[in-house]
Amino acid sequence: MVKHFLFAAFVATALSCSLDPTHDEAQSDLGDEAPGVSPGPDHRPGQPCLICHDGTTAPQWSVAGTVTGVLGSTAPLHGATVSLTDANLSTFTATSNEVGNFWIESGRWQPTYPVKVAITYGSATATMSTIIGRDGSCAGCHASTASRISPGPVYVAATAAQLSSAGGSP
């Protein structure tokens, strides 16, 4: 009886412990869901997806992010094609949804880094000038505003006129 109790207490303690407080803090820093938005394809645009989508608390993804239309804007772009090429020249494409989100499940494509990225919307194409070294979360680097540590959101066109003339559609 005592042995069973001790075993149960050990298991309960083990399950309640966190082995990665930094990861827990990163998840906590993401904050609550936006009002009226449930966890799903439309939630948390612009946030670093892979902090949760690592296979522990949510399905594991290899690459995921949010696409906006125009430089300097956070307005999402629906229907953009995100084309990725890894170090072995393996390629994969994904399409942004109505809030600009796209994601790739790890079971479908697991890139070998570094990865190169281009985004297309109609005739407009934006190619990322640098490589992705190891982080599949676009927002890990692409914060909501540009600064000396972030280029700002992922965008397709430099101006609204360029985007509208690109002729893309969701």
């Binding site: 880094y113 190169k116 640098t130 490589i131 992705i132 070294g133 680097c141 540590i149 280029p151 700002g152």
Partner: protein, 166 residues
Amino acid sequence: MRGSSLFYSVFLILIFVVACSTPDADSRTITITPDRASFDPVAAALDRRCGTLDCHGSRYRNLRMWGQDGMRLGLGDIPGGAQTTTAEIDSMYSAITQLEPEIMSEVVADHGQNPERLTLIRKARGTEKHAGGAILIPGDVRDRCLLSWLEGKTDGPACSQALLLP
């Protein structure tokens, strides 16, 4: 009896005085650093492959790099924007040469022999655990670029070719 106690006390004090030493305020460890003047092409290669925002171009890394492809030094600069500045190259040079200054000095004094004494090289080659994996393959252009700098004869063409690698 009293005399022998005094003798032992003086003896012990002398032992402590002789055993203790204070640092020499004028002593310095002389280190030799790799050439700064020929570091620019090496910095460009490192910035491209190692200095991105999700790798060493991040304030969360112990070894930090600054440049066009990653974290910027100037408040007005953004990643992917203006070209790498001299101040950024200076900062990257300091970060790399001051990581293990004594070992770096030995490697440079030995003209780049046994470079894997440096953690920088072991991690870059993947012989020591590195989150970014093996970046340098011994003998490839990236490897030659970095090692030639440690040898004191930077291989500029190798560094240029390194920029073209994926």
